[in-house]
Symmetry: C2
Subunit: 492 residues, 2 copies
């Protein structure tokens, strides 16, 4: 998929949409959020919980366009979608996330099973594969995950956010599904109009070999991995100090381990050439990925043009108060990373009595991708509206005996609905003309159907194209029975 197609996808979403029916009577949420509202004796803190937010309006349109683009991509590669519960038995999640396990949200023990909100979509996927004794599947899953990140630590990361995952489970030949995952990662980003990215690659077995050579104890490998992962942000001296603890392993063992990884990377190089994606890949020994479960190839797509975290406005506000803390921006965990994943061959086995199913997958950081697209499309978005109304049905009249044609407008609108045409009318018995045009404008309707006081009783209505800036145009007079046909020509 080319970037043109991505732009088209966004444009399609834009074209399909056509109004802002959310009329705000006062300033936007960010300002209102922290305002307290009083009711009787109760004090409501009127906001969403820390680290969460509402989605609406244009943000929602962009989000749906992003999800739509990625879903089509996944289907193009034979993927099927699944849905798992938002919480899992707590023991399913235990011991899968290393140090990050402390960020898991637990549900209150209200009697019965102990459960926790999912931390990612990978562990629930492995549980699903084991639960259903699946031998192979290409699945995608777009859903929210939950992490109790401390704002002080990660500066603005959301606690509820979307992940968008594609994984291939099954026993296959070395690096074949892995290379397709890299292809999907590339297509996913270019398909959304993001072309200035690199996918950093590394291999756990190469890393493990190096760690062994450095004398890192097996038990310490994952801890050290986290340290190495910071190499592009911290100076080598700091990382080395953390890494080189003791040296008591024979060098040949390390060589053997690393050798396997190097062989696989050579095979991979051949396949990614067939998929034509070499130019986006770069081998990077400093890439380690913190999670416990990776066993082979690991990768992370980064972009130079990365946008700030989604709640940038919040960050700015904070910056005013605590300038020092925010200046230290190098501590953002993974700024610039817009997709990441790897091979995890042992995770399913942890759930299925050791009978493991090898897996490899990619997770798109859709919230960050969303910010990039939003920043780039800012201008086009101004014109966007969030409803998809095509026709607004109005009544013109006044004076003695004028009843506002409410029932008549309902009947005409009903006719349009039956023909599958998105239509609205004003919920007022006697609406004035200006208010009807205002509402039509806000709804984004392209066409007005007007019931005139004299014309309608004679079986005629006017069909007027909106947004032409020509107020003198009264529209075409058509018979009520020809209305649908006439509107279908004008709207779209």
């Amino acid at each position: 998929m080319s970037s043109e197609q991505a732009t088209q996808a966004a444009a399609a979403a834009a074209a399909a949409a056509a109004s802002t029916p959310v009329e705000k009577a006062a300033p936007a949420q960010s300002k209102k959020q922290s305002k307290k509202s009083k009711k009787q004796d109760q004090q409501f803190l009127l906001k969403t919980p820390k680290g969460t937010k509402d989605w609406a309006d244009k943000d929602m349109i962009i989000r749906e366009a992003v999800f739509g683009s990625l879903s089509s991509l996944f289907k193009r590669h034979g993927g099927v979608t699944i849905d798992t519960p938002v919480f899992e038995l707590r023991e399913i999640l235990t011991g899968k996330y290393g140090e990050d396990s402390k960020l898991i949200y637990n549900l209150e023990d209200q009697g019965g099973e102990l459960t926790s909100l999912r931390y990612d979509l990978t562990v629930p996927f492995a549980r699903f594969v084991a639960c259903n004794s699946i031998s192979n599947i290409k699945r995608f899953h777009i859903a929210k995950v939950y992490r109790r990140d401390q704002p002080a630590m990660t500066k603005g990361r959301m606690r509820e956010f979307y992940q968008c995952d594609f994984d291939i489970a099954g026993n296959y030949d070395t690096m074949v599904p892995d290379s397709e995952i890299l292809k999907i990662t590339t297509e996913g980003l270019t398909g959304l109009g993001i072309n200035d990215f690199k996918i950093k690659l590394n291999h756990r077995k190469i890393l493990d070999g190096i760690f062994q050579a450095c004398g890192v104890k097996d038990d310490d490998v994952r801890k050290i991995s986290s340290a190495v992962d910071k190499l592009d942000k911290s100076p080598w001296e700091a990382v080395k100090k953390e890494m080189v603890v003791e040296k008591n392993q024979p060098e040949e063992v390390a060589d053997k381990i690393a050798q396997k990884g190097i062989e696989e990377m050579t095979i991979l190089a051949d396949y990614v050439e067939a998929f034509g994606i070499e130019k986006h890949l770069s081998f990077d020994l400093s890439l380690a990925r913190g999670l416990d479960y990776y066993t082979g190839l690991i990768y992370e797509a980064v972009t130079a043009a990365s946008a700030p975290p989604t709640n940038a406005s919040e960050l700015k506000e904070k910056a005013k108060k605590e300038t020092k803390e925010v200046e230290d921006a190098s501590e953002y965990v993974g700024v610039g990373s817009i997709a990441a994943g790897g091979r995890y061959d042992n995770l399913v086995g942890m759930f299925s009595n050791g009978k493991s199913i090898p897996c490899v997958g990619i997770s798109f950081g859709v919230e960050r991708i969303f910010s990039i697209i939003k920043a780039r499309a800012a201008k086009q978005l101004e014109k966007l509206s969030s409803s998809q109304t095509q026709v607004f049905v109005m009544a013109f009249g006044g004076g003695e005996g004028w009843n506002g044609f409410l029932k008549e407008r309902m009947e005409v609108t009903n006719k349009l609905w039956s023909a599958g045409i998105n239509s609205e009318f004003l919920y007022k018995a006697k609406p004035n003309i200006r208010k009807q045009f205002d509402a039509a404008d806000k709804s984004g309707s392209q066409v007005a159907v007007i019931l005139g006081k004299e014309e309608y009783p004679q079986g005629q209505v006017r069909v007027k194209v909106l947004g032409q800036g020509d107020d003198s145009d009264e529209g075409d007079l058509v018979k009520v029975e020809d209305l649908v046909k006439s509107v279908e020509v004008q709207a779209i």
Copy 2:
């Protein structure tokens, strides 16, 4: 939308889909769910939490078709979608659900704000409207809600399930948005092929008048409402005993209250005629709806042909063990109810310092609707598969020097992907012919592209239409550069 269109929607979803890439190596989840799996010292109970389930395969296709049909409907009526966090500040939910508040899932107090999983989509919507100072909106929201129902009480209700809501907020003329909501309810159900339903109507003010006449104290009204709501299940005597407590209110007050409701119902009768939905409506004084927040019109769509709750298989299994409990099926809360809602004019005001925005809405019980559609479409579903693959790329060959054309298959598949064609190939270096056809079959591909040992090096491939039952047909020999064009003709 006609039932034909609904069938078309389902058929479209069916046609778009084409395989079962989920290969099961063993029996399905239900049997496996309760099986314990042992790993090292840990004991995993390999299942989803009580009252939750995974969605996959054909269920997922039906669900997406149902959501798609309802989303189009909502957009046809000018609706926009929003998304709110899965958990809210606990105080937002407090005092909104009457007796059912005990079913709210709390998140563990891990320090910081106290939060709970949303119980429905209505209270979060009211919070959203208040938070953003919205004066009017037509919004829809399709998402999961959470209720700690005790299986012993409700027999098989899910604890995590989808709701599909459309609500209109704003100050409008009496019964105008209300009648459109009833229109949407009707279209929603007929649009899914469900035509044998009735929408029971009642008005809170008529009920309140009656209660006053009966001498029910204000504080007891909601409690009594719950009792009345059981009228279609329990004998009148039992309900009356619960209702008639004391009589000390003057009758004229009651008359006045009820009068307002009766007036509104008369206006409504006029409007629903304009929308052509009278035949589906019936006034039912026994309808009360348990929730605290309703203030005007209330309604519930019921179907004779209602299916059992979604986890029917679980119920059956239980039935074997505890026959008595399950026979008492009359206790199912709302069996037969497939959509319900009403007017709630004071809920937003509870969040916004008393400045209220009147609201009216409908919630579709999509899980129950899903069961009905699934039961009716059982036969068509047999042929369905969940992936949407169009083309399977294969290699034919063998003998000396045969390398399996893995890289070549990758290149050809890549070409198809670039043209937007959903394509797969087998992840094996040297795949055998039978296994490639099996995989193509499971993927639901309509077309095979075959790279022959002699033909491909000469720049030619075979394009063979699958599922014709004619194994002798070798397909058409085409030049590689004409492949995309040729495939586009064959696949759809």
